[in-house]
Subunit: 247 residues, 2 copies
């Protein structure tokens, strides 16, 4: 199996064989399996390891005082859960599994050592945090300015590109483990309305969603409806100047 972290970071710069080897060793750290609907980390925790998702989906969430759950991000293979913990005293939100999950628990010292030892890897990790921030901002403006139909279309586009970049898109199809109610917690809409909006996307022949698979029938149409522009994902090898040349 290709390593999803390496695949993702290579969107930024080309690694040397040595870089890749170090990153692969990192992912071979203590591997942990979780089932669906468990917490990887809980709000208030001060974790010592960084969790790298190898398989499955997770989400960042908060429980509001009135009991509802707000999902603020989805995380898929290649995503690092909590790099921020080098600095922040405690988690201000929780991370929970949405499917059975396989994560590598990377001791934070090892990650720091690696970043210190290779400028290329250090920059790539930095790039990665900045892209995560950009995704968070895009999420906010997605939810703030679009109607629910376009929000869903936008989310479908984003997850398609993100999974594609870690080798998890099969042509125009990705796995889609989310229930409509989880989708509602993410886009800020009721389950009923999510359901009706998905039907509308289906009627317009943009997507097909069944059997935990999302099949994108008309990517351009979906992007138009969502007003989606992929620039915030920064997949354009911003760090080319750092490229290693021994691949």
């Amino acid at each position: 199996m290709r390593n999803p972290l390496i695949l993702k970071l290579e969107q930024f710069t080309a690694f040397s064989a040595e870089d890749k080897q170090s990153l692969r060793e990192l992912s071979a750290s203590k591997v942990r399996s979780l089932s669906a609907k468990e917490d990887v980390i809980r709000e208030g925790d001060k974790p010592h390891d960084v969790n790298l998702i190898l398989e499955g989906w997770a989400c960042r969430y908060k429980i509001l005082e009135d009991g509802r759950r707000a999902i603020s991000a989805f995380m898929v293979p290649g995503d690092l859960c909590d790099v921020r913990m080098f600095i922040l005293k405690q988690m201000d939100h929780s991370i929970g599994s949405l499917t059975p999950l396989i994560v590598a628990q990377i001791p934070s010292e090892r990650l720091l050592e690696l970043a210190d030892s290779s400028t290329r890897i250090c920059r790539a990790l930095w790039w990665n945090s900045l892209v995560e921030e950009a995704i968070a901002r895009e999420w906010a403006s997605n939810i703030g300015q679009r109607d629910v139909l376009a929000r869903l279309a936008h989310l479908f586009c984003e997850m398609f590109f993100r999974l594609q970049s870690v080798g998890l898109a099969d042509h125009d199809t990705i796995s889609w483990p989310l229930t409509q109610s989880q989708l509602g917690e993410a886009v800020g809409a009721s389950t009923v309305h999510v359901n009706r909006s998905i039907q509308e996307l289906r009627d317009r022949n943009l997507v097909e969603l069944s059997g935990r698979k999302l099949h994108i029938l008309n990517l351009d149409g979906l992007k138009d409806l969502a007003m989606f522009s992929a620039s915030y994902l920064h997949r354009d090898r911003d760090g080319q100047s750092l490229d290693a040349n021994d691949g």
Copy 2:
């Protein structure tokens, strides 16, 4: 005048006199004045300087294809506009002034040098980016899960605490330069609805908003309504262990 960047970063760790001096010199870099409604940086730009806001308010925004403007963040004195540009090839959104603005244009090399020379400052800057990311996530869940009344209440709370931390709150009053239509672009609501929601907040004796001033009459009530918890602002000196002891 106290330096807003120092005040802000000191929420994380206590600086030495020397640290403070370096930071002060940074803010004395080329100072630029802008009037309201200008762009500080435009989407697609590749800036070479980092802009530090010394006075005034700015916002991050994108223009959507249908012409509407989505505001995804407000920026106030002490905020650094675009640290991300060390890594990313180009801006994926614009930054525009909302009031007349005074910014220090810090050459990126100087900021990097400073970060290299002091672990304390380096960590404080890192902390700052992570808090910005947390603010972006909170923004998303604010807009996704709350009704417009609570969204406004939440934004009022956030800006109050942020301005307070850079010494710009006068007891329970902060300056509030935003028009209701700008507020609408930020919280994802029509101007009319923003107006009616503000009236409701007024009727409930939570805030008073007039003459470009926001007067908070009942902070606890406002926080309850907003389901506001300040933990995401990480004002609790997470980096205490790095504290200098010569203040």
